[in-house]
Symmetry: C4
Subunit: 217 residues, 4 copies
């Protein structure tokens, strides 16, 4: 099986699984997977599809500037530029962007802080953090209708440790060295967001300072 | 494949998907899809069926006055008149009416305001609203046991921008130019309702005025 | 197909569907369906099974006193007596008993009132209540380890209008003239319980007296 | 079918079911099942797998000291020592360790108490507790990066009645005499945790002292 086909199937399987969880509401969300490093190419979701269906037109191959590498009536996702910026800055092999109610609520609650940090949570081991006092930080950027500006904002907050960026009321973008790692990171973060919100609903964040950052705003 | 059969299958597939989400509790909810414009005809759900099953009797063809266009022991949904009113006033090609806990709670919380408006939410792009300061408004009408009166009330609040109407404690009715668009709008709205409620539970609406309208009542 | 086999399949299908929703946690819950009126017989779930599996030993036929009508190593559900009491007092053709988090929380919150009443909710139409000011009441009884006493307590609160009884921290028992109706009633009630709890979490019950009974305790 | 294969399939089926509920977020969680008593051997999950897939490399056979009993490139779960400690101290035949948002939130809320106790809940019958005033206690231990220390801490709180231990922000470990019993216990506990949290969100724990222990912290 060619590398292109392997990557296609790897991404299609992830798309199926995330779609089954309803993480692409209203055709939102987009995914990509790197196919080759030099010259750079990646498969990225075509724009505006219902991601609960699996078709031969779900992805298209684009180059480093986002131009399709084959003739096609399909358009790459409008947010392809964000993916390309992340590939440029990190060792990502696969990038997933999804909206969940909880990641959007977290993005709004912590927007003013500019980040959310998790400590003392077993699930951060999904990011290879095994130390007793390890912590995981996810930066949060403002949303912009201008997608080039948004791509730059996302790039601006990425450090060598960053594996995910929240955009205010615009979901999460998360990555890993391959599809498996990207999905692992995404699942762990969604778990942590839901946990955090339940603790917030219970009014338990501010009274437990050792545990995780309080909601400032 | 005939146009009638294509529309039937389009609607059946949407019904399956919404039923899998349990959006037709207690046989509630109804769906329709336009088959022809002149003379007008549409497929509409038969009354009182368990929408988790897929059968040959799920829909029936009715004309502009709601009369079945073929001899049938089936009765069109009691709320067919609401569908016909929306087809009359808009360019809808498909109309979906579902009950979710969250759309019903929103309908009650915002009933006195008569509407709910979303701003600064990426998901409103599902409605073709791409501007940075774009907003989406869903009108809310009171429920009436008299379904003719209810159909008129729904028609009364529809403007050219309207794609959905909430009925107090009676779910949402949402539409689009075809099944794909109607489902896209529905998914986006359910996401926004759930988001809104979680923010309300966190007590975050009134303190964040730039973000979306506060709960007045 | 024999009547017995038809009823078996009807009940098995409902069991599958409720199990898929995880409404039988920890092998809890039980179901029955009437097979004949005179002499009375019904199929009832065997005790202690994982209801997510479908087997030939899921149900057994019992008579009016709960004794198996065939030789079998299976034991009828320990709560068969509650089913028999309901068949004796009503026109039920099928009875479903399930635990959900929300029906248990409602049973605890409203236990002191002895009932919960819904008004102004479209979903009560699932019970054939179409009037604008119609209302639906579900009685709530205390739980007892003595299952004979519990069966009597359930019987004591049943009126001709009753279609369901909540037992405090012991789920709901709901019925209908057949499997279809019983499931319809159950789905509608679970919806209403979840709605009610979300409104309670939002602190909206006491400030909205026209809407439904407030939480007294 | 050999005993080994039977146990493999028993565990694989449970893994599938728990995975379908998303109870292994980010490759977290681990499972084991006893194969023989003397010499002791059990199947345990291989480290770092996506538990939503079913493969021939999901489990491996280990002895009483955790060493694989066959040559294999696979590594047993890093938390195998916790399983072995439980097999050593109890009559467990199967052990399940999963993360859910609710079990983690409970583990944090009740960590200072060191345990959570349920009373007056029908679902505790899943543990064979049928008395009217029966109660079920789940101890809670602190989390440790040092997994040997963690295994000892878990062992330290186990009494003859214990069927589950919560680890602070590190999920639940639950067991039973076989796979069926372990899953039954797990489902019942997850139900009780979710119930408890909803009551806590409604602010109903402290005002209802007869019902279950209040949140102390």
């Amino acid at each position: 099986m060619s590398n292109l086909l392997k990557r296609w199937n790897e991404l299609a399987e992830i798309k199926d699984e995330l779609a089954a969880r309803d993480w692409f509401p209203g055709t939102s969300g987009n995914l990509s997977i790197k196919v080759s490093d030099s010259p750079f190419s990646c498969l990225v979701t075509a724009s505006g599809k219902d991601k609960r269906k699996r078709t031969d037109e779900d992805f298209l191959l684009v180059g480093a500037d986002g131009t399709p590498l084959e003739e096609t009536p399909l358009k790459p996702s409008a947010e392809t530029g964000i993916h390309l910026e992340i590939y440029r800055l990190t060792d990502a092999g696969c990038i997933l962007h999804v909206h969940t109610v909880d990641n959007n609520v977290i993005s709004a609650l912590y927007a003013e802080q500019g980040e959310i940090t998790f400590r003392g949570q077993e699930l951060i081991k999904a990011f290879g953090i095994w130390e007793e006092d390890g912590e995981l930080t996810v930066p949060i950027v403002e949303n912009h209708a201008d997608l080039k500006r948004l791509a730059k904002e996302v790039g601006r907050v990425i450090t060598p440790q960053t594996k995910a960026v929240l955009i205010r009321n615009h979901g999460i973008t998360v990555w890993g060295e391959n599809g498996f790692a990207a999905k692992k990171h995404l699942e762990a973060l969604e778990f942590l967001f839901s946990y955090q919100l339940k603790m917030a609903i219970l009014g338990r964040l501010s009274s437990d300072p050792e545990f995780m950052k309080t909601i400032h705003a």
